[in-house]
Assembly symmetry: C2
Homo-oligomer: 460 residues x 2
């Protein structure tokens, strides 16, 4: 970035908010996606709405590209700056602004960390249900920009379902107060919902009003061994018909081995199996008898070969770790992540088709299967062999991904269930969104951001 422009920028945002440390590029120029080379032109710390409005106005005037940056835990490169963009970090815009005790809602700045919000809710005797492996680092603004899902979608829905109001800034530097916390508001296009999941391409999120819920009474976890992948949805049905499930997850023996070796935990039980299912339910609402009955029925039918139910909060936490630590445990292997979904009723046929294709096309690579399978969401991770270089590995994976995505398309699913599109999935978008839809996406982008300065090159 030109020196004179940088000086002007410092004037606009405040010199103390322009970050030029040696680690600026590595720290603020990329997210958890490791396939792009960061190269930001500058890093700015957002401090408050007025300052961001000035920054956006300045960028629009000079046609400078802006990249929003939250906790940088993204897995599709949505927060990557590789082309001299100005990174706008929300790390320091992290205040909880208001709590409404009548509505049980909270208004927060975009940079509040997910786990902070969870703790805040808990202190109020309430619950923020959106949770996932990176909730200790991810920020609310990023969660909203990608409509983050995670482990409790089954019971509480996605990030989208918690948001009652959004304050955003558009490229012209105009602030929009979208829906303003209303339950009912039938006044045409609900731009709040358009911004949720838009990955910063229509404007940046400054604040959000979020509904909190009552905490679950007595959550309990069951972890089970499944001899065969094709039974995962039959086990789901057996439990779901008897218990109010909050989560239903699955993972493969390979995933378990990685967690054991990475974290040093031992097996949950002696029995080894090809696959494992983990579910959470509210024991206070259901009664342990229904759980025992469902489990017995699965064992009798040969769907399940072993299992354990949590008897304490600590044990519940420990069982969750088998699932939650998978992502961190495989990170050293530079995994190529496919985050795909289909309708829940299509899961059995879909898993079978993907399993066949992957077995045929990836004979040399280790595959790690896991996912929020009760939502139809499969995380299919391909690990890089130690002796392959990243670029060759990525190209090979992209080739195979094409054929996996063709299966996703055949099953009318989605090429990105919850990670977003960013840079990594952009060229795959056409597998599951039609040409007409993508053309309309471009037209909407243009309506909001004619100079293409808001996270350009991402998504579309």
């Amino acid at each position: 970035m030109r020196q004179s422009l940088l000086a002007e920028l410092a004037n606009v945002v405040g010199e103390e908010n322009l970050y030029t440390g040696a680690d600026a590029s590595d720290k603020y120029g990329q997210d958890w996606t490791r396939f792009f080379k960061p190269n930001p032109g500058a890093v700015v710390f957002a401090r408050n709405a007025d300052q961001v409005v000035r920054l956006v106005g300045f960028a629009n005037e000079h046609e400078l590209a802006l990249v929003p940056s939250g906790g940088r835990t993204g897995l599709s490169g949505g927060a990557v700056a590789e082309r001299d963009e100005i990174v706008v970090s929300f790390d320091k815009m992290n205040r909880i602004l208001a709590f409404d005790e009548v509505e049980n809602s909270v208004t927060v700045e975009a940079g509040v960390i997910t786990a902070e919000l969870q703790r805040y809710a808990s202190d109020k005797g309430l619950f923020y249900p959106v949770d996932f492996a990176s909730s200790g680092s991810s920020q609310i603004g990023g969660n909203i920009a990608t409509n983050a899902g995670g482990i409790r979608v089954l019971r509480y829905g996605l990030t989208r379902d918690q948001i009652t109001g959004l304050e955003v800034v558009t490229r012209s530097g105009q602030r929009l107060a979208l829906n303003r916390g209303l339950v009912k508001n039938a006044t045409g296009y609900d731009f709040r919902h358009l911004f949720i999941g838009s990955e910063g391409t229509l404007g940046f999120i400054l604040e959000a009003t979020i509904r909190l819920v009552s905490p679950p009474g007595d959550p309990a976890v069951i972890l089970m061994a499944l001899p065969a992948m094709e039974e995962v949805m039959n086990v789901f049905s057996a439990f779901r018909s008897r218990l109010p499930l909050t989560a239903y997850e699955f993972f493969s023996e390979e995933a378990l081995l990685h967690v054991m070796s990475h974290t040093g935990v031992s097996r949950p039980f002696a029995t080894k199996a090809g696959y494992y299912a983990l579910l959470e339910f509210d024991r206070a609402a259901a009664g342990a008898a229904s759980a025992t009955e469902a489990f017995a029925s699965c064992v009798e039918k040969g769907l399940v070969s072993d299992g354990v139910i949590s008897q304490s909060e600590q044990q519940r936490g420990n069982l969750w770790r088998y699932r939650e630590d998978i992502s961190a445990s495989i990170t050293p292997f530079t995994p190529y992540k496919n985050d795909i979904s289909v309708r829940v009723s299509s899961v059995p046929g879909f898993l079978k088709a993907v399993q066949e294709e992957v077995g045929r096309r990836y004979p040399d690579f280790e595959i790690v299967w896991f996912g929020h399978i009760g939502d139809g969401n499969l995380h299919l991770n391909i690990l890089k062999p130690g002796d392959w270089d990243v670029e060759t590995f990525k190209r090979k994976c992209e080739g195979v991904s094409e054929s996996v995505m063709a299966i996703v398309a055949r099953f009318e699913g989605s090429v990105s269930a919850e990670h977003g599109v960013g840079l990594l999935k952009r060229d795959q978008l056409g597998f599951t969104r039609s040409e007409a839809e993508i053309a309309l996406m471009r037209a909407v982008k243009k309506a909001f951001d004619p100079n293409n300065i808001m996270n350009p090159g991402k998504l579309i």
Copy 2:
């Protein structure tokens, strides 16, 4: 409409689907809003997606305006054709297409009547929770186009919250399959949510995939007399902290008198009061003891002066009638309807401000208060005195409405909580959506419908 064009149109849609009966204008040219003079150019019965696609393509080519028409129960003129438009009635496109027993979801054509869907769900042992006074006539397509709310939003959310997929046709005659029933789909702009509440201005809804839920265990209703309007939210708090409420409604003595005189029912109990609150809860989930405790606490504090709790399904239905029959009971008085909302925590101050303003500005008119007050939604109905003509009455009401809307704006509420904007509220949109938002709404409309043929003149 020109005769030659009509002949062409008949060719495109099938002669048998062009309706030219004497009642075409009265029956298909308007909705339940009685302030507009219907004058459609033609009425076409939609039969299937392909035919609608042909029709839209034809209209786009000739720049003919199309008005979508569902159950025509709208209260803001969204389905009114007053300028030679082609009305597209979905009355005959009313098939239930598929039921998914794994997901408990149903795919229906746009013309399915709400009560039909409720019955269908019930036959499957399930529940479609969206319900309101006009559910016997309103159609799913219209519900979606206005994001219909109704009486059970508190527990189950709006129409928006039930929709997992939408099939729509845009002005170019392109069909879009939006979200396709997926739980998780993080691939950018969620046009499903943009279409929900767009009042037919972006395209027409052909089919919807809808999530059904488990039916409530043992719903019970409590109807109570409230001496003062300002206590309505204190009563709400007292019950909500003890019971899982599915509905919380209120209405005034004037509303009750109209229902009694219109339907012939007698008072629910001997005590007269200025206001009444009606709530529904699930007795199976809560236990009657909590209800009794909440009621006793309200009586003790003087918030409630009398009450009755339903002891049977029939009595529950009868109690609901006091609230559900208000709208039909006042229809003969050509009510001018304000359907306004604020955040739930703002309701007490808002009610007070509106009450003062209305008392000052409408000394001559009868005011009927009711609404889904647990959602912050107030229906403020002004009745036409018998000796006033409609036009003078409407003008007078519009004048006062401006000052009521200014109060709504001050409380950061919405000028239309659940009826939509249509023609009636179009000029009030600016009270609660900013200029910048409205400009973006126009830009989005243009991106989807550059020739302005899809329900033109409505909403914006």
